[in-house]
Amino acid sequence: MSLYDEQLTRGAGARGSEAPGASTYEVVTEEDLLTIRHAVRSATVEAGFGLVDQTRIVTAASELARNAYIHGGGGSLTVELVRDGARTGLRLTMRDEGPGIPDLEAALTDGYTTGAGLGHGLGGARRLMHEFAVDSDAGEGTTVVATRWNGR
């Protein structure tokens, strides 16, 4: 699986080519979902988050990555450490080139699903993070940017 290998390599050495503290991971296969959980967990530990916040952020990342995998035909997740004055946080940016979300309001409503999940993915991920923005146009793919701040 060359794509998977490439993604592992990128995951390990992504820092050089991007903003400091940012890493990008491809979501192409189911195994990538596991890789992403590990990577995001490490990033939350590095950012100094407590156990509950770690779990919130990893769970949100898992939901976003699964959405991109199932609905968006795969995509990429960028994980970055962010600073705003004295506080630090972790920002997840999930991009896919899929069909987009035709009805965003509905997609953020609990119980709404077009796939095999429970319909809590997007709305649930929004509740687990402090800031949450979805940019989606039909046919143009979807970008979700979600941030959680530490010690707020």
């Binding site: 609990d110 999940g117 809590h120």
Partner: protein, 138 residues
């Protein structure tokens, strides 16, 4: 016939009387979740199990997929005549699940594996009496 360890790196399913005891590890990918469901339902039938204890104290994350797996598994087991108890959820996982909006409807839970086994009808071993301490039996 089901083999004892068909799932790669999974927790074996043990039989204690009419109760099956198993667990989930920190990593539960989609394939493992499906394999786990298949194996457990087969074992419920093969062993005529009346109860199933699933220890999840090692599970570090329950996202909507894992939640769905647990809910479906509980329903399937009930249709096969077995009662499922999910035991040992980590506090951080419980907090996250609620915020995610998932209530694991229909899934019975217990604080830990011991409490789960008691709920399924297993009793603590009677304490050895004072006259015959365990050491003297050696």
């Amino acid at each position: 016939m089901s083999t004892p360890y068909p799932r790669d790196g999974g927790v074996p399913i043990l039989r204690l009387g009419d109760v099956l005891v198993t667990g989930l590890l920190n990593e539960l990918d989609d394939k493992s979740a499906v394999a786990f469901t298949d194996e457990l339902t087969e074992r419920i039938v093969a062993d005529s199990a009346r109860g199933v204890l699933i220890d999840i104290s090692r599970l570090e994350l329950i996202d909507s997929f894992v939640a769905r797996t647990l809910m479906e598994l509980t329903t399937m087991a009930r249709l096969l005549g077995a009662r499922v108890i999910v035991a040992g959820m980590r506090p951080a996982v419980a907090i996250t699940l609620v915020e995610l909006g998932l209530r694991l409807t229909g899934v019975e839970t217990a604080l830990n594996a011991e409490a789960g086994l008691v709920a399924l009808g297993w009793q603590r071993m009677p304490q050895p009496s004072g006259e015959a301490p365990r050491v003297s039996l050696r």
